[in-house]
Amino acid sequence: MKQSFIALLCGTLFGFGLAFSGMIHPENVIAFLDITGQWDPGLALVMAGALVVAIPGFYFIRQRHQPLMASDFCLSAKTNIDAPLVAGAALFGIGWGMSGYCPGPAIAGLGTGNLDAIFVILSIYTGFMSQPLFFKKINSGR
């Protein structure tokens, strides 16, 4: 219950940040990926802003033995660079470039009245469910 409350607050902060940065709008994502057009460095700045906070944040939090409200930190145990990782990231990148959406802005987009996001979310779930059909089941991670 307490964890859900924290998750709700963190989700709200995340959604607000996506909107504040403008990255919630797919045309800004496409403008970043379109390096031969009028290149917009926006997405790189969003990542830079996030990493400036997250790199020291994760470093200091990981000095702790456990999180405040749970017994363990849930970090992926995988360390090897394998074919599913690279193939998955490649398919993800192609889909991202085609649609201009990744999962965060698709969900958060509902809060800005973006009706396209509904089609994108349904398609993302179809993609999730098709994964075992295309590739043998792989452990779920992040």
């Binding site: 989700g11 940040g17 660079i81 809060g111």
Partner: protein
């Protein structure tokens, strides 16, 4: 890019980073949206509601921003063709499951933890995204 926009963009990113480390500090969870979206089965098995709560927050946070800035309501006039949205969304879903993460999980949390897998994943999806937009713009300039 104007200075204000640049600052907003950077600051918005910092809020996203703050969200990710706060979730990690309290719950030990990684703020990877694709994993959170796909994790409904675990929610039912373990009777935990943090995943739907986070997703609800995402919508609420964007809505709060829109309330303060009504000009931000999304206009559908300049939209991507439905076929690209649906096929692209499908590949985003399939790829993020296969590759264990998306822009948030690999691109922010994974890189912030210096995970080699996440660094490779991010470089891969960035380059594939760039190439895809390049091809679409050149093959279908009318889009």
């Amino acid at each position: 890019m104007e200075i204000m926009t640049t600052l907003n963009t950077f600051f918005g990113g910092a809020l996203i980073g703050l969200s990710a480390i706060t979730l990690f500090l309290f719950t030990g969870r990684i703020a990877g949206i694709s994993g959170i979206m796909a994790g409904f089965k675990q929610c039912l098995l373990n009777k935990t509601a943090w995943r739907p709560a986070f997703l609800l927050g995402l919508v609420a946070g964007a809505f709060l921003y829109t309330l303060a800035n009504p000009a931000f309501i999304y206009s559908q006039d300049d939209n991507t063709p439905l076929g690209l949205l649906i096929s692209g969304g499908f590949l985003v879903g399939l790829g993020s499951r296969l590759g264990n993460g998306c822009t948030s999980g690999h691109g922010i949390c994974g890189i912030a933890n210096f995970s080699p897998r996440s660094i490779i994943a991010t470089l891969t999806f960035m380059s594939c995204g760039l190439l895809t937009v390049f091809l679409i713009k050149h093959l279908f300039p009318e889009l």
